[in-house]
């Protein structure tokens, strides 16, 4: 190689590695460290062993949050992927064959553009919008439409509905993204396969279940991982929309909210870190479990 290879390498790596080391690596390492302390923000940190984790075990809010994540983890991927698969199918294959090419239904380009748009909006913005949409009086979009605001549904104030209302918003925002993602996958399915199936007299329902879904399975599993990770978040929605940030009575509590409140409301850095460590192992377990099934060759660009 030419002269000055090492000065060049060091010069190019110094800033990114320094930034990453200071704000990311150091932070993650310290989370593990802090989780064994009772650090309150000032003074020296006292090591307390596993006390934080024992306390966590007895913390009903923590278990409530886990239950909420479980609900989101099941229904967010399931519903989003089901809706997105059907729409992507309609937009790409649903129009039947034309000129030997599978087409989407009429206007499919328009639908794709519209469906994708919410993905571009910040979740925080979406949360503010839907906080108003769910408003428990005539000013709410849904209650206004339903009954002019009389006898309103208390979407966010009713324990039975609060988490589902949050779930609906997550789905509302996510579907378009996965429609586009699945559409890209469907576009790469060779035309001959559809032609062969059509020659065999396959209806579109058969095409969907027997051709499209099996061929897209890899993409579906990637989608599952992404949506699963999103199900461990939901902080912006909970922090902005819900009653008492996680209420009513813990019905929408999520781990991110618990971490945030333990830092900024109670200055319990050790305890917050312990929740962070648990969150890390939960996401990692989930991703590893799913990725075991999704393992596939690298995709070339």
């Amino acid at each position: 190689m030419r002269h000055g290879k090492y000065p060049f390498i060091i010069g190019f790596l110094a800033v990114p590695v320094a930034l990453y080391g200071t704000f990311v690596v150091a932070a993650y390492v310290q989370t593990f460290q802090l989780s064994f302390t009772s650090f309150r923000g000032f003074g020296a940190a006292t090591y307390v062993g596993l006390d934080n984790f024992v306390r966590l075990w007895d913390d009903s809010q923590f278990w409530q949050a886990l239950r909420n994540h479980a609900v989101l983890l099941i229904f967010l991927p399931l519903i989003t992927i089901a809706i997105a698969l059907v729409f992507a199918f309609l937009l790409n294959v649903g129009g039947g064959a034309k000129g030997g090419m599978q087409r989407g239904v009429w206007g499919s380009k328009f639908y794709r553009v519209v469906f994708f748009f919410p993905q571009l909006l910040a979740l925080a913005l979406v949360a503010v919008i839907f906080g108003r949409v769910y408003s428990p009086d005539g000013s709410g979009l849904i209650n206004g439409l339903l009954n002019g605001g009389d006898d309103p549904i208390l979407f966010l104030a009713d324990q039975r509905w609060a988490l589902w209302s949050i779930l609906a918003v997550l789905i509302w925002q996510a579907v378009g993204f996965y429609v586009v993602l699945f559409s890209a996958g469907m576009g790469s399915v060779p035309q001959e396969i559809y032609e062969a199936a059509a020659l065999d007299g396959a209806t579109r329902v058969t095409l969907f279940f027997r051709v499209t879904i099996p061929l897209l399975w890899n993409t579906v599993q990637v989608a599952w991982v992404y949506l699963g990770i999103a199900a461990f978040d939901a902080f912006a929605l909970v922090n902005i929309m819900t009653v008492d940030r996680g209420g009513p009575d813990g019905a929408t509590m999520v781990l991110g909210m618990l971490i945030y409140r333990n830092i900024f409301d109670y200055s319990q850095y050790g305890y917050a870190s312990a929740i962070g460590v648990v969150l890390f192992f939960l996401t990692l377990t989930f991703a590893a479990l799913t990725l075991r099934v999704t393992r596939r060759d690298t995709v070339e660009m």
Binding site: A27, Y28, K98, V113, G144, F264, G276
Partner: protein, 309 residues
């Protein structure tokens, strides 16, 4: 031939008669198509309405008075299209300031992310040296950690460096947390570029740095564009980091748009000034629609780039 001309798009390929013949003699298929297409369109229209409806409602409400908003007729037209609520949102609720703060922070941090991310990715992808794999996996492993997990120590680190409540702190943190994906994506991209051109540049006496900026970066343009869009959208929409970093006394003058709007939605409740909140929301949504209208294809490609890999 006339049949083809009237149904197919005029811009279609000139050789079209064959498919027309194919379509002709299958009435049973046509009926199935009819019922199926009807149901399909209904579902699609419903979702389109569910997507656009709330946004139109927000725009309509921004022109309404409080009384009109609470009338229980969400899609009724406002009495007048006065812009008062917009003036209030821009001046008194500081949407203008939040917006400009967001623009500034995202401009600087995305530029920084791309510069440092591309530099690191390039060196890691194309140079052999001791520790290469270690540094690469150090970056990539960042993808596995939820940002929430880093929050307690991150706050303490920034506090000890006096970077809390500063743009510098926010920008540095944005860059640092955008690096894992940027490096991962761009390293894969730089790996695919051919060696020959780089070697030719070496023979001509170009330095490593010059080869990177003048030859490799232009060749990697498509990958760089995708990931730039990905970072712009991601950083523009970031909520957790600014809420954690920009707080305390006097912080509100440095808030970014997401946290500013969230704060306005809280204060709108106390002041009963809902129209201003809807105006603020409209002002945050419209620029996104405009940008999306122009760069729709690139944005879809950029945002899905991560999942396709």
């Amino acid at each position: 031939m006339t049949d083809v001309a009237s149904t197919d798009t005029p811009a279609g390929p000139p050789v079209a008669p064959a498919p027309a013949a194919k379509r002709g003699g299958r009435p049973d298929v046509k009926r199935e198509v009819g019922a199926f297409t009807g149901a399909a369109h209904l579902a699609l229209v419903l979702w389109a309405v569910a997507t656009v409806g709330p946004l139109i409602w927000v725009v309509l409400a921004s022109f309404k008075t409080n009384t009109e908003i609470f009338l229980g007729q969400p899609f009724a037209l406002p009495g007048s299209f006065a812009l008062d609520s917009y003036a209030t949102a821009w001046n008194e609720a500081n949407v203008g300031r939040y917006f400009l703060n967001s623009v500034f922070v995202v401009l600087v941090s995305t530029a920084g992310t791309m510069l440092f991310g591309a530099m690191a990715a390039y060196v890691l992808a194309r140079y052999k040296f001791w520790g290469n794999r270690f540094i690469y996996y150090l970056f990539v492993s960042g993808l596995a950690f939820p940002t929430f997990m880093a929050l307690p120590p991150l706050f303490l680190i920034l506090r000890s460096m006096n970077l809390l409540n500063t743009f510098t702190g926010l920008i540095l943190v944005y860059i640092a947390y955008s690096l894992p994906f940027t490096v991962f994506f761009l390293a894969a991209f730089f790996k695919t570029l051919p060696r020959e051109i780089e070697e030719a540049a070496t023979v001509d006496g170009a330095s490593h740095t010059r080869t990177f900026f003048q030859i490799m970066v232009p060749m990697a343009r498509s990958g760089l564009v995708s990931i730039t869009i990905f970072n712009i959208v991601g950083q523009w929409n970031q909520y957790l980091l600014p809420v954690a970093i920009m707080q305390g006394a006097g912080a509100d003058s440095k808030w970014v748009l997401t946290q500013g709007i969230a704060a306005i939605s809280v204060s709108a409740g106390y002041q009963a000034n809902w129209a201003a909140l809807f105006a603020a929301l409209t002002m945050s949504i419209i620029p996104m629609i405009v940008v999306y209208a122009f760069f729709q294809r690139q944005i879809q490609a950029g945002l899905t780039a991560g999942a396709v890999k």
